[in-house]
Symmetry: C2
Subunit: 337 residues, 2 copies
């Protein structure tokens, strides 16, 4: 999986995200300098060259791979995939498929990244669509919430697969031995919730997972894996981001004049960052696809890009994909038994 | 609707809530002193008398009505209603039914309050179960979120009725002339979401409401009424409460030592309160039942109880129930046309 220089190779979509290509390239330079990783910048050659010229990249393991165009947020991913076969996200993902990279990273359209990964890398057995999961609540930094928006009509069997993937995530990324898995619900009693949660809870109870029951939204940090459908997970993530922004502004206004500007800024920024985890600390791997593809926040800046590259590198080196492929059929077997 | 002394009469469940009866009685005394309202305290006579003895209630319009027992959070409301026919919530709600009170207020079990209201006051035409709605996001203090937990399998026709009730709420309570109604969704585009949201959006588009499309969870303050099923609404409310608690603790820890204790406390409390609206500012009326029944937060203290009594009084005096009964059939007609 590694090149002759021994470094893990990550293809990075230089054209995706609100601050592309400048912040993407800056993040890549940081990662190449600090991260023990080889990075291939995939994008419009002229733009990428121009940005690279702003940095001292001599002797850094950075390569450039040309692509044509990018898929914007809001474009239909499927249509765009057909119309822009050389788009940066397709070329990046294609490098993973062809063995030219060990993993890829994008800050661009999540829908496009999922479509590209599903199409080029393929889905794991039993998984219909890629899922998104990871720690999105700064106050619960070691809690995976899954799914975060990819699967908005989650059926119980799908939610079981989310639970399995969250379980592997917590074990591989954080070394949690026996992750506590819970169903996000409106009450802690087993009788609470809707048909989806009750049926899913039954499946989870019968699985090999360490299912601890329901968890309410004000108590997410009490478990390692929070299972929910993508509709609910997306609301959780965006509400947290919105409240973080609002609380940050609120605290700033309250403190103005009582502390120095830099102290006020420190507190306000801390509140913001704690609630905007994906934006500030990078992104997470698409789950259920046969290859490492990390998707970050559109607003990501250089530090977050560097972190996302680190996440991709870790996923590659820890054998995350192989582990998921090993665990998913075991869980499916449980349910079918 | 009023007594011979001209005051609106509110029956208050003295036994419901974490701080009952002490804080309930304290809140009732405040309301009777400041609120231009007559209050009937419904509860165990000895306990209520003992609490009242701690206050100077001479010349205040406070009465006491005996009840036996209370229905706890977590008890099955339906079973409890049968087994405890003299429970405080049933006696309070019964007073509204019998014309002995114009409205009632409880800080006890929401499920019990809903069951009592549905059973004793009856549902409005076209409504199957009471809904809960109100401003639950302090950063969006003039945005009704509906439903908040009563209806966890909301069908599109139910969600339309939530929208109508939210619309009447915004008009009656806040004087918004033409409330902007939106569907809580995972994206702003009409194609986003699941089957439930797409079907509901269609119904809303065809209604007489000022439907403005989808709203994402980080942007709730941009509209007057946010429609969602009770599962999602409950997650929104509880996540907000949990983040408020966590952020309050976080800010307190960050500020410790930099400001005086009272200043730190002021900022931390403000963050908490802004995210725990129901606990700190009272509660909201059950929607869709034929009578005024206000349900508050279990943790409510005296100020919140006083505020909830004010909300009940306002609902009575503004003719909220009559207005809902007038609007609901109009909207049903739209859909059936």
């Amino acid at each position: 999986m590694v090149t002759s220089n021994g470094l893990t190779r990550i293809a990075v979509d230089a054209m995706g995200g609100d601050h592309a290509p400048a912040e993407i390239v800056a993040g890549v330079v940081q990662a190449a300098r600090n991260g023990d990783v080889q990075v291939m910048l995939v994008g419009d050659s002229e733009q990428v060259e121009a940005e690279l010229a702003n940095h001292d990249t001599s002797s850094l393991p950075i390569g450039a791979v040309p692509s044509e165009g990018a898929i914007a947020e809001g474009e239909s991913p499927i249509t765009a995939l057909r119309q822009k076969p050389r788009a940066s996200i397709l070329v990046s993902t294609g490098m993973v498929k062809n063995g030219l990279a060990d993993g890829c990273v994008t800050m661009g359209s999540t829908g496009a990244a999922m479509a590209a990964a599903a199409f080029l890398l393929g889905m794991m057995k039993g998984i219909e669509r890629p899922a998104l999961g990871g720690p999105v609540i700064g106050l619960a930094p070691r809690t995976v919430v899954i799914d975060l928006g990819a699967n908005v009509d989650g059926r119980p069997a799908q939610l079981l697969s989310f639970a399995v993937m969250g379980d592997v995530f917590a074990r591989q990324f954080w070394g949690v031995e026996r992750p506590r898995v819970a169903m996000l619900n409106v009450g802690s009693e087993a009788s609470k919730g809707n048909r989806q949660t009750r049926e899913t809870s039954e499946l989870l109870s019968e699985s090999r997972l360490n299912f601890v029951g329901n968890v309410e939204a004000n108590d997410l940090a009490s478990v390692d894996v929070v299972v929910c459908d993508g509709f609910v997970g997306n609301i959780v993530m965006k509400l947290t981001e919105g409240l973080g922004q609002g609380m940050s502004d609120h605290v700033r206004a309250l403190l103005e004049g009582t502390l120095s500007e830099s102290e006020v800024d420190k507190v306000a920024s801390s509140v913001y960052e704690l609630n905007n985890v994906v934006e500030t600390v990078g992104g997470g791997p698409l789950l259920g696809v046969n290859g490492v593809s990390v998707v970050g926040h559109g607003r990501a800046k250089a530090d977050a890009v560097e972190h996302a590259i680190g996440t991709a590198k870790f996923a590659v080196e820890s054998g995350f994909i192989a582990k998921l492929n090993e665990e998913l059929p075991r869980m499916t077997a449980d349910v079918e038994e």
